[in-house]
């Protein structure tokens, strides 16, 4: 799963030469062996490296505070979203929904790596949500629809249908 993500990320960043990745351990943590230097282990580490390789540091945040927020969501993705149990999904959706109430992207008003990786990570949950649930987590769904249409991001993932109009009124149970 992570390998597909990384290959999509490379395409999204416009990197011409795809890297060769390997995995380690039961949890299939991705590894990138570099020619001159230590191996890079872990999705976030490798992704960050790719962003720098593509010379798009703005994707990691502008100000120091901004950078910290991006790191926070990257960590959330790897620790909370990956390998989460069914019971945790509701909490994650609620968290994202309330956080995104007044923000366009995860790090505020700017598209960053946090959005891409969160999109890749949470796609398998969103694709199975019923229309009513998507409307319940309105802000999260709005963000998701926005990111999946962001040029160059989607790649390996099928599009999730998001209706333009609300079908369930607020009084609906």
């Amino acid at each position: 799963m992570s390998l597909k993500e990384l290959s999509s990320l490379e395409k999204a960043l416009g990197l011409k030469k795809p890297n060769k990745y390997s995995t380690q351990g039961d949890r299939k943590v991705p590894v990138l062996q570099s020619i001159n230097g230590p191996a890079l282990v872990g999705l976030v580490t490798i992704a960050t490296h790719l962003v720098q390789e593509a010379k798009q540091p703005e994707l990691l945040g502008g100000s120091a505070e901004h950078k910290a927020v991006v790191q926070q969501w990257l960590e959330y993705r790897v620790t909370k979203v990956d390998g989460c149990h069914k019971e945790d999904i509701k909490t994650i959706l609620k968290d994202l929904n309330s956080y995104l109430e007044d923000k366009v992207y995860l790090a505020g008003n700017q598209f960053t790596l946090a959005d891409t990786l969160m999109y890749y990570g949470i796609h398998h949950v969103i694709v199975d949500l019923a229309v009513q649930e998507k409307e319940k987590y309105m802000n999260m769904t709005r963000w998701f629809d926005h990111v999946q249409h962001y040029p160059g991001v989607r790649h390996h993932l099928p599009p999730v249908v998001v209706l333009r109009n609300r079908v369930y009124t607020s009084g609906h149970h």
Partner: protein, 493 residues
């Protein structure tokens, strides 16, 4: 209590002069009120000064100093009444009134007085009764199994104060009391209206009402969900629908028929919309050129019912809405009709994956209902041309496309209320389709025979009275619209 008893006994002899007491059956022959009884619903500022309401239920007794306040109720209407120490009433009479148990039936003679401040809590808000004589006709037991004010409390209200709502099972176990609530009274009056409108509309269209047998020799819709009864030395079944008999009436040259009667389904479904016994309103008619004539006849009947309810039962709709708020029911004229394939396309657009000939699951039906509501702004619509594979054996296939059939479902608020179709009226085709469905031809021999001697093309459908009422009012459980519901877990009251 003893004193009261003695007083009551004495009053038998001079009943005409006594002012209060418990009235015994033996007294009834002697008692004549001084004025004609009046209904609580008629009490208002225009009422002349002295009236006697007919027997009413006494629902609340509050004592304040030298006065006793009561609320008297008849069906959906209630009025405040008062017994005060003074010219009209003695201290003992006020004490008697204060000791009347809630829900007792009382007979009262009172003077109707205009009040300065509107009495918000009663239906008759501009007047109160100053009681001159009060008799208990039937005493209720002091401990009631449930409190009426708890029964009409909307969900969620009063949660902070710790005031309860009553759960459904308790209500159903004590149905006689639960049915007295304003909400229940309104629901079942509306239901009576649905039956009346159904009959009147169809009679005006030239339909004949028929009665069909409920004890039958073979399961009409398939063997699984049928109740068996012992029938002398053999067994018989309770009819799952009047289907076969409706059709036989058409073959018997009755042209257009309808019937209202019980339907028995031994389905072990414990859902909000299934009952094991419900009232079926069924229609069957012969048509001239195209089965859409049948659809039009049915949808027009439904629209007349909706209009009749909207125009004549607003009070009831509002009363139910106080406890169970919902959006008013919307429908289009002419009724919206979509083809099954269009419905599938709408669902696919919303991200649902399903096959062309796949049946609609309940969640998909509901979602389609929401999509239709959003797009066309209607709570009532028809889905036409269902795939043949998912319909019963007697459904007429579509002559232009053998994957589909001349059958249709109708929906209210996204839930199915009617399943109907053009029926096969040719014995040979019917035999072929039955064999295709692996049905034992011996069991349906007399059914197939009805079509051997000249049968017109015909179609129809049936609705469930309880489900239609539930969905029209926007309620969420069919037991609320069934007076004494039957389900896999309930056989009483």
């Amino acid at each position: 209590a003893n004193m009261e008893g003695q007083k009551a006994k004495r009053s038998v002899h001079n009943l005409g002069k006594s002012q209060y007491g418990t009235r015994l059956e033996s007294d009834m022959a002697l008692y004549r009120p001084t004025v004609a009884p009046v209904l609580t619903s008629e009490l208002g500022v225009a009422s002349p000064n002295e009236r006697a309401p007919a027997d009413a239920y006494c629902i609340v007794v509050i004592v304040l100093g030298k006065q006793c306040f009561l609320v008297l109720r008849q069906q959906q209407f209630n009025v405040q009444a008062l017994v005060a120490v003074g010219e009209r009433a003695s201290k003992q009479m006020v004490k008697f009134a204060a000791n009347i148990n809630k829900e007792s039936i009382v007979d009262v003679e009172a003077v109707v007085k205009k009040v300065e401040q509107t009495i918000e809590s009663c239906s008759q808000q501009d007047v109160e009764l100053h009681i001159e004589r009060i008799f208990v006709v039937s005493q209720a037991e002091p401990r009631l199994p449930l409190q009426l004010e708890d029964c009409v409390r909307p969900e969620g209200e009063g949660d902070e104060d710790g005031r309860a709502t009553v759960n459904q099972d308790t209500r159903l176990d004590n149905r006689v009391i639960d049915l007295r609530t304003t909400t229940s009274q309104a629901i079942f009056r509306l239901q009576s209206g649905v039956c009346q409108l159904f009959r009147d509309t169809l009679t005006n269209k030239g339909f004949v009402e028929i009665q069909t047998p409920k004890i039958i020799s073979a399961a009409s819709e398939g063997g699984a969900n049928v109740f068996t009864v012992s029938y002398f030395k053999t067994s018989a079944y309770l009819a799952q629908s009047p289907q076969l008999y409706k059709q036989m009436c058409i073959c018997a040259d009755f042209d257009k028929v309808f019937c209202v009667g019980p339907v028995f389904r031994a389905e072990d479904s414990n859902t909000h919309r299934h009952l094991t016994e419900f009232v079926g309103l069924d229609i069957e008619l012969a048509f001239n050129y195209h089965y859409h004539e049948v659809i039009e006849s049915i949808t027009d009947t439904m629209v007349q019912i909706f209009k009749g309810l909207r125009d004549k039962f607003q009070t009831e709709i509002q009363t139910v809405g106080k406890q169970y708020p919902s959006e008013p029911f919307k429908f289009l004229e002419p009724t919206l009709r979509l083809e099954y394939s269009e419905g599938v396309a709408m669902l696919r657009e919303a991200g649902v994956e399903m096959g062309d000939e796949e049946d609609l699951s309940t969640p998909n039906e509901k979602l389609l209902g929401r999509l239709v509501k959003e797009k066309y702004d209607t709570d009532f619509y028809v889905l036409d041309k269902y795939p043949l594979a998912v319909r019963p054996f007697y459904t007429m296939p579509d002559p232009n496309d053998k994957k589909y059939s001349n059958s249709y479902d109708m929906f209210m608020r996204g839930e199915e209320i009617l399943s109907g179709a053009q029926r096969i009226h040719d014995a040979q085709l019917l035999t072929e389709r039955a064999m295709h469905h692996n049905i034992d031809l011996e069991k349906i021999k007399s059914y197939i025979d009805s079509f051997r001697y000249g049968a017109p093309p015909h179609g129809g459908g049936g609705i469930g009275l309880e489900r239609v009422c539930m969905l029209y009012l926007g309620l969420h459980n069919v037991r609320q619209t069934s007076m004494f519901p039957r389900d896999p877990k309930r056989l009483t009251p």
